[in-house]
Amino acid sequence: MTDLRVGHLYPEHLNIYADRGNIAVLEGRSRWRGIEVTVIGCGIGDPLPDADLYYLGGGQDRDQALVADDLVSRSADLRAAVDGGAAVLAVCGGYQMLGHRYRGHQGQEIPGIGLVDLVTDAGTERMIGNITIDCDLNGSSTHVVGFENHAGRTRLGAGVSPLGRVLHGHGNNGQDGTEGVREGRVLGTYIHGPLLPKNPLLADHVIAAALARRHGAVTLEPLDDALESAAHAVAERLAAHR
């Protein structure tokens, strides 16, 4: 039987923007297809679980500072897991921590895990609002919708692909039109709302990428996404009229 193992990193610290909703979608959309799901929480000092997908949410500034050292101490393990086929989904603060470092207002640096080539600098004004990006999923253009609320300005290294291009909203830094990062099975984004409920195509993309580690290419049966589509349409309309 096909099964999915999700490693939820720091669920007690990084949960500010309803990250639980993303986990609920990973669980629901897998179980509705008969795929068994195990979600393993991993707090500070816990052993890194063996997982097909590692999920990293966002937290308050202090909570992020509390987990930063622990996360950095796992850099090599996470790198090895990704090299072994594991997928990563990181949102908001968790996305910033995928990069080399975060530089605060006073120039103080919080190191990241350097899993992808990006850096983040604190900005003065927060970038807040509904957002829509255009994202290539399995060769077709897909609109991903949600809400962003971040002071950090993220810049991708040369040749690093964003998750998508901003249609409405701010994205990585409010300037270059990019949003998030995608490198192989590693996805990072500022979009919460939460991210996955209103974006079922992206949710299935993440599930398929994670399943591929142990089960190879899996075809996911279609689900009834009427409510998902309705919520998506409303969010996209709001983003266009921000």
């Binding site: 949960n15 308050q60 809400f147």
Partner: protein
Amino acid sequence: MFAAKVAAARAVARLSRLTGSGGGTTLPGRVLLQVAPDAISRLAGRLQTGSIVISATNGKTTSAKMLAGMLEPEVEVCHNRAGANLASGIASALLAAPRARLGLFEVDEAALPGVARSLQPRVLVLANLFRDQLDRYGELELVGQRWGALTGELGPDRVLVRNGDDPLVAMLPTGSARTITFGIADPAIGLAELPHAADSKWCARCGGRLAYATVFLGHLGDWVCPNCGARRPALDVSAADVRLLGLDASEFQLRTPLGTARVRLPVPGLYNVENALAAAAGACALGSVALERVVAGLERFDPAFGRFERMRIRGRDAVLLLVKNPAGANEAIRTLAQDPSPKRMLIALNDRVADGRDVSWIWDVDFERLVPWLEAAVTTGTRAAEMALRLKYAGAPAAAIRIDSALEAALDLALDSGDGPVYLVATYTAMLELRDLLVRRGVVRRYWEAA
């Protein structure tokens, strides 16, 4: 000169009522503050016995209304009773009550530092801090830091009334103020563990993980930091032997420095016991209220608008519940769950500025606990579809969910479903719209008249 500005602002208030555009609860104050930025401190200086301010994320309207019930009619009180709790609302209330002797103000938690520095209240009641509207207020800890800067300045002639059950509030600096601490003294009434949406699991002093002997709601409970030894302070005002009586009431032993009394509070839920304690502790801090009046104020309490407010619509019983954030919504659900009969609901989710543009908070609410007895739900509001989606992932069967983003049609749809009372759950602006609708149908009065 100031008198002329005040007179002009009062004229704005009359105009606002005459034109039916509102109750004059914010506009006159906004106008006055534009021409006289120090208007709040000048008008508040006329209150002979000073003022008392209540702030919290949840329950401040209810607590203020309970306290008003203990004070009135013996004391002429200036009270922003319609819930306009920003600086403009405080200034409007002051304008409208030129003969008041005492100010009683609920103040928005983000607006508190500025308003309190203008008002210089004799008593400051701080009841709780929960995660709320991250797009507007910023993170919870930032609000806490701003509160701490304020409480650290309090002089010896001030009283700080604080909720000992809330570690974020109980660990605020107290300056040289006298403190009165309130909380629940009944370990049997608590939860076994912190709910998912618990907002403050970490010690504000050392960052260690807090341990709870009992959790009452959200992160409120009997807490201790095993790392640095900080713990819930001794309670001056408390509720012991608490009995929750379904959706109708609760009973508890109210212990205060004034004495002890059994209280039957005619509104449900443990969160209302917390609200009652905030009001009772505020009354104790004022120093001029007898225990009998405290008890009578609580027992005669009629809920603030939209807080388990009962009404009849088209011959059916309906209950109106305001929800604004995960902690408040979880308590509403927990209270509803005390009556396990099947329920029909209307859930109105808006994402206007006053609701918070970001609706991600609904995914932190334990709607899973509502599903077992949810017979039918109609979702409405600007984010009706998102709300329906949330119920789907909470496990509600598709057949039980209907969407109609038009409020009036959705209300009628909910009223047409099944039998028994209909629960109308709404975010702030959705509740105002719903009340407008109910006023037009003659079901309820306007909010500034009813409050």
